[in-house]
Symmetry: C2
Subunit: 308 residues, 2 copies
């Protein structure tokens, strides 16, 4: 497989690593020559770092599969699949997809990394609209496998299938989002939990620190290797149906208090931020992000070492 | 510290292990002599199993700290703290707390393991109402550290504090639930996420399998060692406040579609159950639970081996 990376910012860089690590030939391009060079250097450095962390073998082979191209025409030459990762503006997406649809032979899949713009918003006028879709990674995709595949209404089902197969092949975990919903699936689940978290802190039920502990020392443990539905399926002798019969009433009563939809208030955000800053000062954020990535790498190594 | 376990069913057994492993002297009692003997044997066996899994040292010492008692009076003799784990019926709780409040000297903390009944519902008439509270474990507490501490309005703040200290001392993770809300904190967070999961599957946006993958290969990875608030705090350069400014609008738009509160419909539950049964047949549930506990044990060992 030969893949084009269009846009060499943070997201494009991470994708380049994922595809090259997964055995694909990767061609990178960016509208800015400077950004392309910088991105390419960062990718090569990160490949060495991932090897040092035990998350990548044969760094020379991986780097050897990377190539930079000086034009959009060049980067699309001979590829099977394009991963676009330009800024999150619908006009930018519209323009680049128009150019890509003109330049790339039919049969080449055109995927966008967008987290917030549905494919239908920038592919509606294209002759090749049925080969376009969203393939939304979670940052950074070389540590977090899930990729949300979201077609436009006119996307060919075979394009969805082939994109899923590509993700499987490179070791990512594709999930198909069948409808263009705001936030796809991951952010909708996160949003539902965050909103209840914000409500509970706003109401004074729990502190920021204790709320996080409830997840990291409780709820989040099973979710790191099972999903929420498998979790409840195993939490009643007869499986999911029995769980729902037993606890559905409780969950329904709670939901009656979980319907607020107003914007998060400034005062609440201020308070949450203040509680966080007491736990971790602003100048420690960057150090903690490094800790987070190391913990994530260790967790991924752990998951890989366990039989599935 | 000397702890009384009142009720030797599944929850009481697990608590006995946790307290004894944590260095407490543990006295167990159950209204049924037979249940007490059975529970005691199971506890001793599980202590050996936990040692075999690397989750407990010195099993003889731990078992040596356990003792069974033939009456409620005996089990309360000389203890600092009582952990009640009888069936989830308010009348049962009311009766046992009345007896315990009469028999145990003032100063002894009386805690209930209930997941669904607020302490105020069964301690309102007690002379010692201010020493009563809920200490709700997640099953099984010897693998999952979080314990929700939920006082009644009349509980002495010092009783909350001392219960938290006891949990810290035995290696559990206490979180304080300041108000008697339905489902405390953990199940409210779970409920919010589950409801959105059910909505997305019902609407056909995602399959049961892909929904679980979105969490176990994405969202749940960070939550296993950070909470949801620390997660967003680290996900924007300037921290939580900047994250909320950037993404608050998206989360608010989603929330407008996340307000349904009706009971989970039979047809939806049927469909979810059917999709789960295609992934895991009913006769494999028990085997999968053993797998789950082994994965959980491995994850806890992993977390312990990582520097915090």
């Amino acid at each position: 497989m030969k893949v084009a990376i269009v846009g060499s910012g943070l997201v494009g860089q991470a994708w380049a690593i994922v595809y090259a690590r997964g055995g694909c030939q990767v061609q990178m391009w960016d509208g800015s020559e400077q950004a392309l060079q910088t991105g390419y250097e960062i990718v090569k450095r990160q490949i060495r770092e991932l090897q040092a962390c035990g998350l990548l073998d044969n760094p020379e082979d991986v780097t050897g599969r990377l190539q930079i191209c000086s034009s959009l025409e060049d980067v699309l030459d001979g590829v099977d699949y394009v991963q676009e990762s330009l800024p999150e503006k619908v006009e930018i997406k519209r323009q680049i997809f128009e150019q890509m649809d003109t330049l790339a032979p039919s049969g080449v899949i055109l995927a966008s990394s967008t987290s917030s713009i549905p494919a239908s918003a920038f592919t509606d006028a294209l002759a090749g609209q049925n080969r376009c879709l969203v393939a939304h990674p979670v940052n950074p995709p070389y540590l977090i496998p899930v990729v949300e595949i979201c077609p436009a209404p006119w996307t060919d089902p075979d394009v969805v299938l082939r994109t899923r197969q590509l993700m499987d092949q490179i070791g990512q975990k594709p999930v198909t989002v069948n409808e263009e919903v705001e936030g796809f699936v991951l952010n909708r689940l996160q949003g539902a939990l965050l909103r209840e978290a914000f409500r509970l802190v706003e109401r004074g039920v729990v502190s920021v620190e204790d709320l996080d502990a409830t997840v990291k020392d409780g709820l989040g443990l099973r979710w790191a290797f099972m999903g929420p539905l498998e979790t409840i399926d195993l939490n009643a002798p007869g499986g999911l149906k029995e769980y729902c019969n037993r606890y559905g009433g409780m969950f329904q009563r709670m939901s009656l208090e979980q319907t607020s939809t107003e914007p998060w208030s400034d005062s609440l955000v201020e308070r949450l931020d203040q509680e966080r800053r007491e736990l971790l000062s602003a100048d420690e954020l960057e150090k903690r992000r490094i800790w987070r990535d190391q913990r994530l790498m260790a967790l991924m190594r752990h998951k890989r070492s366990e039989a599935q």
